[in-house]
């Protein structure tokens, strides 16, 4: 790798001096994401166009400098931390909605657009972009694509990759190509499908083509309160098994409920063991009957109380509680580590039971708030990183939870990605042959390994 001063000079020639950040303070601002991983970039560049991105990448390629595209830095697995140094590329200058094509139900955006900003603009046209990660207030669409973000409404509508139909991509040698497009089924391999969720290891996206849909006619949001977490989990399994696909099916446990109520005063009962947020959407016809069927399943599973949002304000209040849950829980202890192991929906009650056992075993509080309908857990393991023994137990507990998920027929990450944090857990899921196939994909896209090195793919066999 070339000398840092020289690198900075060369990059300034491409993007301009003011768009290369190098001070110690700036470097420290970009040494972390929402995981526990820390590592400093050598410098930060802010390109303003695809052409600048391409030139910076070409430069990095020629000098074998690692490069990572960063969005808002909300990554939960260390994926956006420059563990091997190099260039952090920010997309704050590439944040335009380029085209709103309601006629064809597509939008074209730059990667720096904030997810909720796009939704706000679309709402004025009566359209919606479905993926809704809890952090959508700050996350960028580029980051969402890199991680294949989910969110509550993914239960019915699918994750980011289901709504990403094409991309303008800068390859690792600086070449710019277009994958997919506004139309479906473009000939050849589904490169867009592989790029989404590749955690910045295959390419840098400079434009995204996304699917938008007309708003649904009617929405019904219900909150079901339970005295036992098993009954909550049992209700989730019962709803899915009954063949009802709600738009969302979210769950919170007592620790989360208390934290949320303390922080936001949304009216959650402090003594509830579990709360389910169930939302139905579609044509208004038949919705009353469907929601009564859901209520019936809740009652069969010993629900304590069901509250139905009577208006948008009440609906917003329920969702504010859910979307603010991570932040609220974050107030309980100095740090949290969140996992996102995922299991088949039928295995939810059994898996939760195991998570509580693990919490006891390691003597660490774990708050649970998760996409229950997807079987996508989010155990928030609470601790203080200054306590080294506790930190060790946290990592052991996290690994054990991931192992439990895999043993239940599930997987180690539903939406937060592998990054650095779950590299070792990849061996729970994949054989050396599976990993070898993925390695070939990496080599085809990025033969020199400059894009986000050391992430997502562990060595084919585990180091002894």
């Amino acid at each position: 790798m070339m000398e840092r001063e020289k690198m900075i000079q060369e990059l300034a020639k491409i993007v301009g001096k003011e768009d290369v950040l190098t001070s110690e303070m700036q470097i420290r601002l970009y040494e972390y994401d929402a995981s526990l991983i820390r590592s400093k970039p050598d410098c930060i560049v802010l390109p303003s166009s695809t052409d600048e991105v391409s030139k910076v990448v070409k430069f990095a390629h020629d000098h074998k400098i690692p490069i990572i595209a960063r969005g808002a830095g909300t990554n939960l697995s260390g994926g956006s931390v420059l563990t091997k140094g190099g260039i952090a590329m920010l997309f704050t200058r590439m944040n335009k909605i380029l085209e709103i094509d309601t006629e064809n139900q597509r939008v074209v955006v730059e990667p720096g657009v904030v997810t909720l900003d796009l939704k706000g603009v679309l709402a004025k046209h009566g359209y919606v972009y479905q993926p809704d990660p809890a952090s959508e207030k700050v996350t960028t669409l580029g980051g969402n694509a890199g991680e294949n973000s989910g969110g509550p409404h993914c239960l019915k509508y699918g994750v980011t990759s289901n709504h990403t139909l094409g991309a303008e991509v800068v390859l690792s040698d600086g070449t710019v190509v277009t994958t997919g497009g506004k139309s479906l089924d473009n000939p050849g391999f589904d490169l867009t499908g592989v790029l989404v969720g590749s955690e910045g290891t295959l390419g840098i996206v400079t434009k995204l083509i996304l699917r938008i849909m007309p708003n649904q006619e009617a929405v019904k949001t219900m909150m079901a309160i339970f005295n036992s977490i098993e009954d909550g989990g049992g209700t989730v399994s019962a709803i899915i098994a009954d063949g009802i696909i709600p738009a969302t099916l979210e769950m919170m446990d007592n620790l989360t409920i208390k934290a949320v109520e303390e922080a936001y005063k949304v009216g959650f009962p402090l003594d509830a063991a579990a709360i389910l947020i169930i939302e139905l959407d579609g044509l208004k016809d038949g919705m009353e009957r469907l929601s009564e069927r859901v209520a019936e399943l809740c009652r069969k599973n010993n629900v304590r109380e069901i509250r139905i949002a009577q208006n948008q304000a009440e609906r917003d209040k329920i969702w504010a509680g859910r979307k603010g849950a991570f932040g609220a829980v974050g107030r309980l202890r100095p740090n949290y580590l969140v996992n996102d192991g995922t299991v088949p929906r039928t295995k939810l009650p059994a898996t939760l039971k195991k998570v509580f056992e693990i919490s006891k075993k390691y003597n660490i509080p774990i708050a649970n708030v998760f996409h229950a309908g997807d079987g996508n857990l989010h155990p928030l393991i609470l601790f203080d990183e200054r306590d080294k023994d506790e930190l060790r137990r946290v990592h052991e507990a996290a690994m054990e939870i991931m192992k439990v998920c895999v043993d239940m027929g599930g997987t180690i990450s539903g939406e937060h990605g592998i990054g650095v944090e779950k590299l070792d857990a990849m061996y729970f899921v994949f054989t050396p042959k599976d990993l070898s196939a993925m390695k070939k994909v990496k080599e085809a896209f990025d033969p020199d390994g400059i894009y986000n090195p050391g992430k997502l793919l562990p060595p084919l066999t585990k180091a002894a």
Binding site: R106, C154, S161, T179, G181, D185, F189
Partner: protein, 452 residues
């Protein structure tokens, strides 16, 4: 050739004597674009598939996977076909987790057979895929070609429904991608890479798919229109409404004649909806779509329910099958464009076909921007090849103008010799080529047939 004889006996050792065909007469049925393989091999398990593929890779024998044979006309002319790998015996259900709404099944299973079994499970379930050749196609063929049907409008395609798969890569490795969770970002999404990869990267052996419960109520509405423009205007109104029917199809008269002759007699174009939902919603859809249609110029509204509804969509799905039985040389093209432009493609296809003396059948998935066209060819393929190639070139150009592309899905050899069946080349083909080289360095998988 003695080499091949020895090879055939080795293959028989792997899959059993009875499961290797090497008699030239029998092999003709397995020829691809007129090229007969030296053997057709029918493994009975994924392990056997792995052995056969590893063997082919060592000897650099070109392999062409095959399900029930409905898509063998897909792709460019093969440079070489040594072995056809028949997957019909690899057809077990490996995990039926109905309460989780997922199913794992091996790829030789015919889709129709699986749907029949699922319909009888408990309250009744289905795999949300309704591709062409529905009565015959295997799951492997459907997924490898990413074949989709009308109800894609609400259910999406294989890339939205598949949660995981098991494949044999060219080196014989059995690899697993994804799993049975509805969300999964552990590693690269190899499932998406393999969907639609046309057997160029590996042999699809098992899929894990989402299931849905059969809907409470179903109905079909057929609304004939005198003009294509009128039909398009009406469709536009529905696509952007909140009514969300399960399918929105537009037929020209020739296509409708093959599916529902009564409707075809009423007007030259038809808009057809499938409605599938709870009872109340379907009743409202029938009422509103009908009323809006009449207001929009439909000359009639026919509602089909129960068996009539099922029969209509089954006939549409098997339309290309029936056509090919009558006319083995029939050409199939598929254009993909932004959804508002399906009408431009239909108009261009009718004009360009008519001008060259072809009575083209056209069906558009109007909410998805997919237009399928079927050209009758008959016996004199060589003489007509120039005209067909010309026609295809015009449609590709038109589709590219509409932010899309057009491919040939079936054509006699004489036509394929004159066109790039994959339409307009794309900028991302550089990556596709590198992927192909990395994963299949000896180039044994469907050699020459697939876009990369």
């Amino acid at each position: 050739m003695s080499n091949m004889e020895e090879g055939i006996s080795a293959l028989k050792g792997m899959v059993g004597e009875a499961n290797v065909a090497s008699d030239p007469d029998r092999l003709r049925a397995y020829s691809i674009d007129g090229l007969s393989p030296q053997a057709a091999v029918f493994p009975g398990s994924i392990e056997e598939v792995s052995k056969v593929v590893a063997f082919a890779n060592e000897r650099k024998l070109s392999l062409a996977p095959r399900g029930s044979g409905t898509k063998m006309s897909w792709g460019a002319l093969p440079r070489k076909v040594d072995l056809v790998l028949g997957m019909e015996r690899v057809n077990r259900v490996t995990d039926s987790d109905i309460d989780n709404l997922t199913l794992s099944v091996e790829c030789g299973m015919p889709l129709a057979e699986m749907q029949k079994r699922l319909a009888k499970e408990g309250r009744g379930y289905f795999i949300p895929l309704d591709p062409p050749f529905g009565s015959k196609a295997t799951l492997g063929g459907v997924i490898a070609t990413n074949a989709t049907g009308p109800r894609r409008f609400v259910y999406g395609s294989a890339r939205d429904q598949l949660l995981g798969l098991k494949a044999v890569l060219p080196n014989g490795d059995i690899v697993v991608a994804g799993g049975k969770c509805v969300k999964n970002v552990s590693g690269y999404d190899m499932t998406k890479l393999l969907i639609g990869s046309g057997g160029a990267l590996g042999i699809l052996c098992e899929i894990t798919t989402r299931l849905l419960p059969l809907t409470e109520a179903e109905a079909t509405l057929i609304l004939p229109f005198k003009e294509l423009e009128g039909a398009a205007k009406f469709v536009r109104e529905i696509v952007h409404s909140k009514i969300f029917p399960a399918a929105i199809e537009v037929f020209n008269g020739t296509a409708m004649a093959g599916v529902h002759s009564e409707a075809a007699a009423k007007a030259p174009y038809s808009v057809v909806f499938a409605c599938e939902s709870v009872v109340e919603a379907v009743e409202r859809q029938i009422a509103e779509l009908g009323a809006m249609g009449r207001k929009g110029g439909a000359v009639d509204v026919t509602t089909l329910k129960a068996e009539g509804h099922k029969a209509f969509w089954a006939a549409l799905s098997d339309f290309p099958l029936a056509l090919r039985q009558r006319d083995p040389n029939a050409v199939g093209v598929k254009a993909n464009v932004v959804l508002s432009k399906f009408v431009e493609i239909m108009a261009a296809a009718e004009r360009e076909a008519k001008g060259r003396g072809f009575d083209i059948a056209l069906v558009a998935q109007a909410g998805n921007g997919i237009v399928q066209g079927y050209l009758p060819v008959g016996s004199d393929a060589a003489a007509k090849a120039g005209g067909i190639a010309d026609f295809f070139g015009r449609i590709v150009a038109e589709a590219v103008k509409c932010d899309g592309n057009c491919i040939v899905e079936a054509a006699p050899r004489a036509v394929k010799e004159k066109v790039n069946v994959w339409g307009q080349p794309r900028s991302d083909s550089v990556v596709m080529k590198r992927l192909k080289e990395k994963i299949d360095p000896a180039d044994i998988m469907n050699t020459g047939r697939i876009v990369a």
